[in-house]
C-alpha cells in the first residue's frame, strides 16, 4: 500500500514498545458484538493507472465546454481560469494545510484570506467580509439568520426572482426556527414588484433578500428597495449569484444594501458539477459581532511585526458552543485563495473588461434571439450576462433538439416556475465566441419549427 508506510518489522517493533501482542488487541475496547466479522464489500484496490483509466471513462461521459457550446448559467458560470490560479492553489503548503490555528506557521493562508476579505469589501463596498462560507445559497441562509439575530425579528421576505436554490436553502435553515418566510412576486421587468414589496414590509420584518443580478439575470433596483427596508428597520440583503457583474454594477453598499452575500465561483473556480464553490459574506461594521464564520484580522507579533490571525472567535462554536453565531466551523479556504488569485490577476482593468465582454456578448445574443420569429424576451429589465427567453414550444423539448447539435442552449425554468414551461435561461460569457452565439441562434430557430 503506497499510502501506508509501516513494514511488518515496524509493526513488530511498535507492538513491542506498546506491550501488546497484536494490532487486533488494540481494539479490545470494541465489543465483539459490534465488530464487523467480514471484509468490507468494496471493489478491490486499483493501481494508479487503473484508477485513472476508470475515472477517465466516467469523466468522458460528461459534456463540457470542450465538447459542447455552452450557454448554461443559473448560478454557475463558464469563465476562463488563468493557468496561474491552478498552479498556485496546487502548492501543497496551501492545499494540504489545515485551518490556520497556529498562526506562526500559517501566515500564507492567513494573509491570503485577509486579502480575500479586502477584495470582497472592495467589490461589494461593504465594511467587513468573512473568510467565506460553503456557497452562495448557504451564505444567503446565514445572512437571513444574522438579520434575525441583529433585528430580533422573525419575518423574512424573499424575492421570488431570487435563485431557487438560495430560497430553498434559506427555507431549510429556517425550518425549525419559527420564522415567517414570505415570497415577493416579480413584475414584467423581471424585477421584484416594488408595490407588492411595500405591502409586505412591516415592523416585524427582519430582512428582504434580493438577487443582484437575480435568477432571471435581471438587475434588481436595490436603491428603491433600500428606501423601503430602511423605513421599516429591516435589513436589505443583496445576494449576488454572478459576482463578475460587480466589475460593472454599482456596489450594493452604495445602493443601500446592509448585507451582501453571494457565490464566488465565477472567480477562478471550475464548474465541477456544482461544487466546491465559494460563498462570500459581507456586512456593515454594525453587524461585526453578529457575523457567522471565520474572520482573519491583523495584529502584531512579539517583535512588533505585522501578522494575521483568526480573530473574534468568541462568536464561534468551539468557544461559544450552543450560543455561537453559526454552526459553521470551516471556510472554503482554498476556493477563497483561488478567488483572491483570480482577482489579483485580472485586477482593476481586467475585471471591468471581462464584465464588459460578458455584457456585450449577452446583448448581442439577446438582440439576435429577439429577432427570431418564434422567440421573445419576456422581461424588460436590464441584464448583465444572462436573460430569459420565451419560445413557442416547451423549453425542455426545444433545448433537447438544440443539444443534439452540440449546444447546451440554456436552462428550462419550468422546474422552479411551473407556469414558465416555454421559457429558458440563456447565459453568455467571454468564453462564447460570436460564432457560438450564431450557432445557438440557428439551432433555436431550427428547433422551434
Amino acid at each position: 500500500m503506497r499510502f501506508i508506510p509501516q513494514t511488518e518489522e515496524d509493526v513488530r517493533q511498535m507492538l513491542a514498545t506498546i506491550g501488546t501482542g497484536s494490532v487486533e488487541e488494540l481494539f479490545a475496547e470494541v465489543p465483539a458484538a459490534l465488530r464487523l466479522d467480514r471484509p468490507l464489500r468494496l471493489p478491490p484496490a486499483r493501481s494508479e493507472a487503473e484508477l485513472l483509466a476508470e475515472l477517465g471513462r466516467l469523466a468522458r461521459l460528461n459534456a463540457t465546454a470542450e465538447t459542447h457550446r455552452m450557454f448554461l448559467g443559473g448560478g454557475a458560470y463558464n469563465h476562463f481560469i488563468p493557468a496561474a490560479v491552478d498552479h498556485l492553489i496546487s502548492r501543497s503548503e496551501f492545499y494540504t494545510a489545515y485551518t490556520p490555528y497556529q498562526p506562526e506557521i500559517s501566515q500564507g493562508t492567513l494573509q491570503a484570506i485577509y486579502e480575500f476579505q479586502t477584495l470582497i469589501c472592495q467589490l461589494t463596498g461593504m465594511d467587513v467580509a468573512n473568510a467565506s462560507m460553503y456557497d452562495g445559497a448557504s451564505a444567503c441562509a446565514e445572512a437571513v439568520l444574522m438579520a434575525t439575530r441583529a433585528t430580533k425579528r422573525s419575518r423574512v421576505l424573499l424575492a421570488r426572482s431570487l435563485h431557487p436554490d438560495y430560497r430553498a436553502t434559506v427555507a431549510t435553515y429556517c425550518r425549525y426556527l419559527d420564522f415567517e418566510l414570505v415570497e415577493i412576486e416579480f413584475d414584467e421587468t423581471g424585477r421584484t414588484d416594488l408595490s407588492v414589496l411595500a405591502g409586505e414590509l412591516n415592523e416585524r420584518c427582519a430582512a428582504l433578500v434580493l438577487g443582484y443580478p437575480n435568477f432571471f439575470g435581471v438587475i434588481e433596483d436595490l436603491a428603491a428597495a433600500s428606501h423601503l427596508t430602511t423605513a421599516c428597520g429591516a435589513r436589505l440583503i443583496a445576494a449576488v449569484q454572478e459576482p463578475l457583474a460587480l466589475g460593472l454594477l454599482k456596489p450594493p453598499a452604495e445602493l443601500g444594501a446592509d448585507i451582501v452575500v453571494g457565490e464566488g465561483q465565477s472567480f477562478g473556480l471550475p464548474l465541477a458539477f456544482g461544487g466546491p464553490y465559494l460563498g462570500f459574506f459581507a456586512a456593515r461594521s454594525q453587524d461585526l459581532r453578529n457575523l457567522p464564520g471565520r474572520l482573519v484580522g491583523e495584529t502584531l507579533d512579539s517583535k512588533g511585526q505585522r501578522g494575521f490571525v483568526l480573530t473574534l472567535a468568541t462568536r464561534e462554536q468551539h468557544i461559544r458552543r450552543e450560543k455561537a453565531t453559526s454552526n459553521i466551523c470551516s471556510n472554503q479556504g482554498l476556493c477563497a485563495l483561488a478567488a483572491a488569485i483570480y482577482l489579483a490577476l485580472l485586477g482593476r482593468r481586467g475585471l471591468r473588461e471581462t464584465a464588459e465582454q460578458n455584457l456585450a456578448k449577452a446583448a448581442y445574443a439577446r438582440a439576435k434571439i429577439e429577432a427570431l420569429s418564434d422567440f421573445s424576451l419576456p422581461f424588460s429589465g436590464p441584464v448583465f450576462n444572462e436573460f430569459v427567453v420565451e419560445g413557442t414550444i416547451k423549453a425542455v423539448d426545444l433545448l433537447r433538439r438544440v443539444q443534439v447539435q452540440g449546444i447546451l442552449g440554456g436552462i428550462p425554468l419550468v422546474r422552479w416556475y411551473p407556469q414558465m414551461s416555454n421559457r429558458f435561461l440563456v447565459c453568455v460569457t467571454e468564453q462564447n465566441r460570436r460564432e457560438d452565439i450564431d450557432a445557438l441562434c440557428a439551432a433555436l430557430a431550427g428547433g422551434a419549427l
Binding site: 435563485h163 436553502t169 490571525v309 461559544r320 490577476l345 465582454q357 467571454e430
Partner: protein, 475 residues
C-alpha cells in the same frame, strides 16, 4: 523576507490577464447602474501575482511539509493522483445544470460513492450534499427533527456529552433544540444517559471514538436506552478513521452519522476547506434526506428531487463534487483491505506515540486509545503550559497537536498521527516532545519565547480581537 499585501504592491496600469479581442459590438448599461473604478483594487503582472502567492505559501505548513499530528483532524496524506482525477476536464468542466443524459459520468461516480459510504458505515441511505462536517450535522439533526415532527412528537432537548465538538451544540441550537450536557468519565456511561433520557429528548449526539480517542464501549446499550424512550442517536463521524472495516456505526444502533471526507477519505483540507460532509441514515430516516439524491434507473442515473418528506436542500446544487471525486478515488485506491489497514495502522501509530510519551506526559484517561491520544500539560515543568509546548514544537519543525481540546481535559494536548506516518516520523516527533519536556524543566524560557525559527514570533491574538482590523485600507 517580508511580503507586502497585494494592494501595497499594485501599480496603476499593470495587468496580469489577457482577453480575446471582443468579437461583437460593445454594449452599455444605463449609466446609473454602473460603478466607478474600484478604488485600491490590485494591478499586478502575472509574475507579481505568482511571486506573491508563492512567497505566501512558503509561510505555511502542510502535510507535505512535515508531520501534522493535529488531533481530531486526521491529517493523512492527500494522494497526488486524486488531484489529477478531480481536474480531468470531464469532471472539472461539467456544469451543474447539464442535462442528466450528458452528465452520466458525474452521476455514476456520485451513486457509487453513496454506495461505498453506505457499506463502510452500515447506513443504507446516504446524501452527499453537505459541504462540511458541521453542515452534515445540521442536515442530520434537521432530519431527526423532521422525523419527530412527522410523528407529531416535537420534543425539545438534545443530549450532548461534555467531550463533544463545539459544532454539536451549535447545530442542535440551529435546529431549535435546547442542549443538555452529559458528563462522562472519559467514556460515556449508559447509566448517565438513562438518567437524563426522557420524552422531551429528541436525540443524543455522540462521537465515536470520542474526542479523547476512546471507543464508546457502551454505545449499543446507550442506543437502546435512547431508542426505548423514543429518541434517536446522532453520531459525529469525525473519528471514523479508527473504525474502517472494524465496526460500523450503523450496526451499533446509530441512526444518523456524518462523514468528514476531508479527514477519513484523504481529501485535502485546503487551509480550512472545502471539505465535504455526507450523511448516512437508517432506512427509517431515508425519506427525510436532503434533495436531490442520486438514484439508478434502468436507463441510467438520475437526480431525484421528488421527496415530499425531505428536509429540503442544504446548499446550491448537489455537494462538493470536486471533493467527492477525490474521496472516491481514495476509496478505489485503497480497496477493502487498504481501508482496514489504514485503520489498523492509524491506531497502532497512536498507541505507539502514547507508549513512548506516557511516562513523561500526564495521561488523564488510562483506557486503551484508538486513533488518537490526549495528554495534558499537568506535568510540564517550569510553569510552561500547553501553548508554550505547542509553539516550541514549531521550532523543532513539527506542526503542534490540537491544544486545549477536548475541554474536559485542562491543557489538553491531542495527538492524532494517522496511518500515513512512518515509524521514523513518529520517533522524531516523540524525541522532540521529550526534548521539549526536558527544556521546560531546564530552560522554560525556550518554550515561552517560542517560536524562534519562524518569520514571525508569537502573535498577539488579544490585540487582534480588541482592535479588529479585518481588511486592508489605504493609509
Amino acid at each position: 523576507l517580508n511580503e507586502k499585501l497585494l494592494f501595497e504592491h499594485s501599480d496603476k496600469g499593470r495587468k496580469g490577464y489577457s482577453l480575446p479581442a471582443l468579437d461583437v459590438p460593445p454594449a452599455h448599461l444605463p449609466a446609473e447602474l454602473v460603478r466607478e473604478d474600484i478604488r485600491g483594487f490590485p494591478e499586478l503582472s502575472e509574475l507579481d501575482v505568482v511571486r506573491h502567492f508563492t512567497r505566501l505559501s512558503t509561510w505555511n505548513y502542510g502535510i507535505d511539509t512535515g508531520f501534522y499530528p493535529l488531533g481530531s483532524c486526521t491529517m493523512k496524506y492527500n494522494p497526488k493522483v486524486n488531484e489529477v482525477a478531480c481536474r480531468l476536464p470531464g469532471f472539472a468542466g461539467v456544469h451543474p445544470h447539464t442535462p442528466e443524459e450528458l452528465s452520466q459520468g458525474a452521476l455514476e461516480l456520485m451513486f457509487q460513492l453513496q454506495e461505498d459510504l453506505a457499506e463502510i458505515s452500515g447506513f443504507p441511505a446516504v446524501t452527499l450534499q453537505p459541504g462540511a462536517g458541521a453542515h452534515g450535522e445540521l442536515a442530520g439533526m434537521l432530519m431527526i427533527r423532521a422525523w419527530h415532527e412527522a410523528r407529531g412528537n416535537r420534543r425539545t432537548k438534545v443530549l450532548i456529552p461534555d467531550t463533544a465538538h463545539g459544532t454539536n451544540p451549535a447545530t442542535a441550537t440551529l435546529c431549535g433544540y435546547q442542549v443538555v450536557s452529559v458528563a462522562s468519565d472519559g467514556v460515556l456511561r449508559a447509566a448517565a444517559v438513562a438518567e437524563l433520557m426522557d420524552e422531551e429528548v429528541a436525540a443524543l449526539m455522540v462521537t465515536n471514538p470520542n474526542t479523547l480517542g476512546l471507543f464508546e464501549s457502551e454505545i449499543a446499550e446507550i442506543c437502546r436506552i435512547v431508542h426505548d424512550r423514543g429518541g434517536l442517536v446522532y453520531c459525529d463521524g469525525a473519528n471514523l478513521n479508527a473504525l474502517m472495516g472494524i465496526s460500523r456505526p450503523g450496526d451499533a444502533g446509530i441512526d444518523v452519522m456524518h462523514f468528514n471526507l476531508h479527514k477519513t477519505f484523504a481529501t485535502p483540507h485546503g487551509g480550512g476547506g472545502p471539505g465535504a460532509g455526507p450523511v448516512g441514515v437508517t432506512a427509517e430516516l431515508a425519506p427525510f434526506l436532503p434533495v436531490p439524491v442520486v438514484v439508478r434507473h434502468a436507463d441510467g442515473f438520475r437526480l431525484d428531487f421528488d421527496a415530499p418528506h425531505s428536509i429540503g436542500t442544504m446548499k446550491g446544487f448537489y455537494g462538493h463534487f470536486g471533493v467527492l471525486v477525490r474521496a472516491f478515488a481514495y476509496i478505489r485506491s485503497m480497496g477493502p483491505e487498504g481501508l482496514r489497514r489504514a485503520t489498523d495502522m492509524a491506531v497502532l501509530n497512536a498507541n505507539y506515540v502514547r507508549a513512548r510519551l506516557e511516562g513523561v506526559f500526564h495521561l488523564p484517561y488510562a483506557t486503551r486509545s484508538l486513533h488518537e491520544v490526549v495528554f495534558s500539560d499537568r506535568r510540564l515543568g517550569g510553569g510552561c503550559r500547553t501553548l508554550d509546548l505547542a509553539k516550541r514544537l514549531i521550532d523543532y519543525g513539527f506542526h503542534p497537536p490540537t491544544v486545549y481540546f477536548p475541554l474536559v481535559v485542562a491543557g489538553a494536548i491531542m495527538i492524532e498521527p494517522t496511518e500515513s506516518e512512518s515509524l521514523e516520523s513518529l520517533d522524531e516527533f516523540c524525541e522532540a516532545m521529550l526534548a521539549v519536556a526536558r527544556e521546560a524543566e531546564e530552560q522554560p524560557e525556550l518554550l515561552k519565547q517560542a517560536p524562534q525559527c519562524t518569520r514571525l514570533g508569537r502573535l498577539d491574538e488579544t490585540r487582534a480581537a480588541r482592535q479588529p482590523r479585518l481588511r486592508w485600507e489605504k493609509t
